[in-house]
Subunit: 218 residues, 2 copies
Amino acid sequence: MSEMSATSVDRTPTRIALVEAALRLFGRKGYDAASTREIAAEAGANIAAIAYHFGGKEGLRRACVEAIGDRLSAIVGPPLPAPVGRAEARVLLERVVRAAAMFLSTAAPARDMVAFLLREVSEGGPELDRIFATVVEPRHRHLCALWGAATGTPPESEATRLAVFAMVGQVLYFRIGQPVVLRRMGWQTISPDAAGRIGDLLVRNLHAALAAGERTTP
Amino acid sequence: MSEMSATSVDRTPTRIALVEAALRLFGRKGYDAASTREIAAEAGANIAAIAYHFGGKEGLRRACVEAIGDRLSAIVGPPLPAPVGRAEARVLLERVVRAAAMFLSTAAPARDMVAFLLREVSEGGPELDRIFATVVEPRHRHLCALWGAATGTPPESEATRLAVFAMVGQVLYFRIGQPVVLRRMGWQTISPDAAGRIGDLLVRNLHAALAAGERTTP
DNA sequence: GTCTATAAACAGATAGAC
DNA sequence: GTCTATCTGTTTATAGAC
């Protein structure tokens, strides 16, 4: 069968190549602008293979969402770790922000994944429910737990959830807005050095925001 | 003639209606997904009117960028005000952040404009140069001037420019990520009240970031 | 499973009447 | 300026050979 759950995906080489190519092209040009012919060509496969493996273009989009969920799990680990102390939570948050800044600024696949996800979210696409349930909600909840531990505030309070969204927005903008960031900074690319300085800034903002959040509800 | 500079745009009713419809549909579905037939229908005009007024679909995209530039100027005023003192700069920045949070969270046209711009930027579309020159660069430079005045740091230093981008990213995410924000917050819509609380958070983060920026280069 | 060939719908652009 | 009608290319999906 070609319809499988996310827990046991078949490892057909063409299937994998198709998802990879689709992720790249959906991310760069958008779902509608990327044609199935183009995707198949980039994957070194036939157009009919898309219908065979995914039932159609929409199935390929869904497979991309599932692939992103899997990659994210592989990169940042399982969504829910053990609860931690205040100092430890701070260190973990700092580490997440710095790693995200580095990954988002430099890694090429990050561009395509973020662009794809943000477009789907912004448009309210048909995979929004799955995106929220598998990539947004678990990670956000995890960050809220860390934030709550770091500030001593309730992890699921409105203030905490909004604060985490603000932090995420800061990091993500350096990815989606990268073309204008590069122009404004006079850079041709984001060097590892520059990515480090962006990470420094975001960590500084993180500590500042944590301190401000602490003051409001001590 | 139908090719005019941004300073003197002709006010043909159908032309205006077409740009408005295009901005809406480009913003919601993306440039490629929005068909010229659809745009013409929503504008109450004929398909051939697009070719007549804009020379083609690409011309319509360009007209959208120019329209956004004009609207932005009308909303936030001319890009370059007089230099200000430290306390005044703080107040102005606070006002900008709060106004942006309110506008971006609630106003319907904001969604389409931001979605359109961010997609064009992210894709590196053909209008990127114009977008950077007319909407990004002047506003960013203005904010940097305010930031520099508020912290006593050089307005065009790397740290200042990056800090302003981070602040902008925070605000923008509540617009483009709104569907997931709503889900995570358990809201059906962003009420004026909720927008106010988001504004409060962003202003708090602004002050925290300003203080942190001050400490590094006093 | 992978291919070729093709169907059916749709896109953007344009010619020409009014 | 605005319309109808149409041209040309491209899209996704599918039928059927291998």
